[in-house]
C-alpha cells in the first residue's frame, strides 16, 4: 500500500510564538518542528506499512527549511519526502493550501492519504476534508483506530455523541486523532539513515499551479487586524479557612450564575 502522510512544519512549541504585525502572518523565522499531532499520522503510516507492505511518502507544503522537520519523520521510518516550497505560496489559506496539496497528492497517487489531528499553529482541524473534496475521494476524520481489509479502510472515531465506525474504499483520505498511537522516537540507525533517503523539492509551478492559485493571491480569507484579547479583569484570590465553599456559592449567585 502506498501511503502519503501530509505533514507540516510549525514553530517549535518551546519558542514564544508571535504574529508579524507587518505581514499579519505567524512569524516562522525561528526554530521549526514537525507539527506534534502529525507524528501520530507518521507513526500510523509506518505501522500500516509494517503490516501490509508498501511505501510511506511525506508530503509537505512549507518553507525550504522544512526539510529539517521532514528529516525527523524520515528517521522514524518514512521512505521519502516531497516538499512543495515556493515563496509565492507563503500565507496560503485553506483554499490555496488545499489546492497545492491536492496537486502534489495527485502526482503521487497514493492508496491512502493520512493527516494528523490538527496543526499546532493555525489550530484548524479542517484541511483533510478540503483535500478529500479536491481529490474526489472519501474521507474519515478523527480516527482513533484503523483497520484494512478487502481494499477498504475502516476507522473508529469519537464524536460528541459516541463512537462511529466508518468504512471507505481505497484510495481514501484519513485524519487520525492523537489517541491512535504513541509515536516512536527515531533510533540512532534511523537518524543516520534519514540523511540518505530521497528528498525532492518542487515549486508551485512544477505542480502545474499558477502564482494566482497559491499564497495570498490564491487565498479567499484575509487577516485584517491584530489586537489584544479581551481582558478577564482582576482575579480574586482567597485562602480556604473553611468558608471557601460558601464564598464560591456567594460569588456565583452574585453574578447570577446559579
Amino acid at each position: 500500500m502506498k501511503i502519503a502522510v501530509c505533514v507540516k512544519q510549525v514553530p517549535d512549541a518551546t519558542v514564544h510564538k508571535r504574529i508579524d504585525p507587518q505581514t499579519k502572518r505567524l512569524d516562522r523565522s525561528g526554530e521549526g518542528a514537525l507539527n506534534p499531532t502529525d507524528l501520530n499520522a507518521v507513526e500510523e503510516a509506518i505501522r500500516i506499512k509494517d503490516a501490509h507492505g508498501g511505501e510511506v511518502v511525506l508530503v509537505c507544503l512549507g518553507p525550504a527549511k522544512a526539510v529539517d522537520s521532514l528529516r525527523k519523520a524520515l528517521a522514524m521510518g518514512a521512505d521519502r519526502a516531497l516538499l512543495v516550497s515556493d515563496d509565492a505560496a507563503a500565507g496560503s489559506d485553506l483554499v490555496a493550501t488545499g489546492k497545492a496539496l491536492a496537486k502534489a497528492l495527485e502526482r503521487e497517487a497514493p492508496d491512502l492519504v493520512l493527516f494528523g489531528q490538527a496543526s499546532g499553529d493555525g489550530d484548524g482541524a479542517v484541511l483533510w476534508a478540503a483535500v478529500a473534496e479536491r481529490l474526489r475521494r472519501p474521507v474519515i476524520s478523527q480516527a482513533a483506530e484503523l483497520s484494512f481489509a478487502d481494499g477498504a479502510v475502516t476507522g473508529k472515531r469519537q464524536t460528541e455523541h459516541g463512537y462511529d465506525t466508518i468504512s471507505a474504499p481505497l484510495p481514501a483520505v484519513v485524519a487520525v486523532s492523537d489517541a491512535i498511537n504513541e509515536p516512536r522516537y527515531p533510533s540512532l540507525k534511523g537518524i543516520m539513515g534519514a540523511k540518505s533517503k530521497p528528498q525532492e523539492t518542487l515549486s508551485a509551478g512544477d505542480l502545474g499551479l499558477d502564482a494566482g492559485d497559491v499564497g495570498e493571491a490564491g487565498s479567499k480569507t484575509t487577516v485584517l487586524e491584530l489586537g489584544p484579547p479581551p481582558s478577564r479583569g482582576d482575579t480574586v484570590k482567597i485562602e480556604d479557612d473553611g468558608s471557601a465553599a460558601q464564598k464560591i456559592i456567594d460569588y456565583a449567585v452574585e453574578r447570577r450564575l446559579l
Binding site: W128, Y163, K220, P228, P229, T235, V236, D240
Partner: protein
C-alpha cells in the same frame, strides 16, 4: 447581508452551537437555516424561534448517517436556493468537515474558531483568538460565499420568538460523496448535558489524586446541573474518558461557569476553556498558573471544599 446557517440535530432537537450562530446571523441580517438527515423537516421549524425566516430541510437517504461528504452536496444545493452571502456553522466534528468540503467545492474562504462575527459597514468580520488566545485576530473574506465555523459555546442561542417557513428539497450526490459508509454507531450514555452544551462545567486534573475522586466532581456537577470535564493528564492516565477532555487536543468549551478542581492551568488546558464566562479555580498550590487567569481563585484542599460545595448547591436547589 444574508446568512445560511448549518443546523445539526440530535434526538429531535437542534443543537446549541448552530442555534447560537443562527441567533447571531439574525442579529446581523437576514437569516435562513438548513437541516439535513432523517427527521430534518420536523425539527426544522424549531429554528424559527432563533431568528430563521426560512429553513431548508432535506431527508434524502444519503444523509441518514452522520457523514460529511453527502452533506456538502445537500448544503451546496440549499445555498444555491438561498443565495446567501455567508454560511455559518457551529463547530463540531461533523460540521468542520462539511465546512471544509464546501470551501473546496466552491473555492470559498473559510475562517474557523471564531468567537464572534460583526458587520463593519457592509463587510463581515470574524473575531478569532489565536496563539493560545493571546492575540485577537480580525479576519475577513475576499468575496462570497463567506464560510465561518464558530467556536463551540462562543455564541448564545438567544430566542427571538419568530416562526420559520420550512421548504423541503432533494439533492443530487457526487459519485465520491457516498463511498464512505457508517458501519456502526454507539451512543455514549450520559445522564447530564455534554460538555459542549453544559452551562456549568466542573473539571478535574491531577490534583484530584485518584480516579475515584472524580465521583466528588460528578456529585457537584449533578447538584449544579452541569457536566464533568477533565484535563489531558488525567485522560492519558485513564482516570476519565477522552470525550470529556478539554484543551488543545480535546474540546474547546465556553460555559457560563467553569470550576477547575486540582488543575494547574497548563497552556494545553487553558486554550480549551479560557473562553468560559467565569472561571473558579480550586488548587492547593498557591503558585499554580491557573490563578493567573481565573476570576475567583481558592487556595485550598478540593477534597474538603468540593463536598461542601455540593451540599450547599443541593440545599439551594432544594430550597428554591
Amino acid at each position: 447581508m444574508k446568512f445560511l446557517v448549518f443546523l445539526e440535530h440530535h434526538e429531535r432537537e437542534l443543537e446549541k452551537g448552530g442555534l447560537g450562530a443562527l441567533a447571531k446571523a439574525a442579529s446581523l441580517g437576514e437569516a435562513e437555516g438548513v437541516v439535513l438527515g432523517a427527521g430534518a423537516a420536523e425539527v426544522a421549524a424549531q429554528a424559527g424561534a432563533f431568528g430563521a425566516a426560512k429553513v431548508y430541510a432535506c431527508e434524502d437517504d444519503a444523509l441518514a448517517a452522520p457523514l460529511p461528504q453527502p452533506r456538502v452536496d445537500a448544503l451546496a444545493a440549499a445555498l444555491e436556493k438561498s443565495g446567501a452571502d455567508a454560511v455559518l456553522f457551529g463547530s463540531t466534528v461533523l460540521s468542520a468537515d462539511v465546512a471544509a468540503g464546501l470551501s473546496a467545492r466552491l473555492d470559498a474562504g473559510l475562517n474557523w474558531d471564531l468567537t464572534d462575527l460583526v458587520l463593519e459597514g457592509d463587510d463581515l468580520v470574524g473575531k478569532r483568538p489565536a496563539l493560545g488566545d493571546t492575540v485577537l485576530v480580525d479576519v475577513g473574506w475576499t468575496g462570497g460565499p463567506r464560510l465561518a465555523l464558530v467556536r463551540s459555546g462562543a455564541l448564545d442561542a438567544v430566542e427571538s420568538g419568530g416562526s420559520a417557513e420550512v421548504e423541503t428539497f432533494q439533492a443530487t450526490y457526487s459519485d465520491f460523496s457516498t463511498l464512505a459508509t457508517l458501519l456502526e454507531q454507539t451512543q455514549e450514555e450520559s445522564s447530564g448535558p455534554s460538555i459542549e452544551d453544559a452551562e456549568i462545567i466542573v473539571a478535574g486534573g491531577r490534583g484530584l489524586g485518584s480516579p475515584e475522586a472524580f465521583s466528588l466532581l460528578e456529585e457537584l456537577a449533578s447538584a449544579l446541573g452541569g457536566a464533568v470535564a477533565a484535563t489531558r493528564a488525567v485522560v492519558d492516565a485513564g482516570w476519565y474518558p477522552y470525550a470529556t477532555q478539554v484543551g488543545q487536543t480535546g474540546k474547546t468549551v465556553a460555559p457560563k461557569l467553569y470550576i477547575a478542581c486540582g488543575i494547574s492551568g497548563a497552556i494545553q488546558h487553558k486554550v480549551g476553556m479560557q473562553g468560559s464566562g467565569t472561571i473558579v479555580a480550586i488548587n492547593k498550590d498557591p503558585n499554580a498558573p491557573i490563578f493567573d487567569f481565573c476570576d475567583l481563585g481558592v487556595v485550598g484542599d478540593l477534597h474538603q471544599i468540593v463536598p461542601k460545595l455540593t451540599e450547599l448547591a443541593r440545599s439551594r436547589r432544594g430550597g428554591s
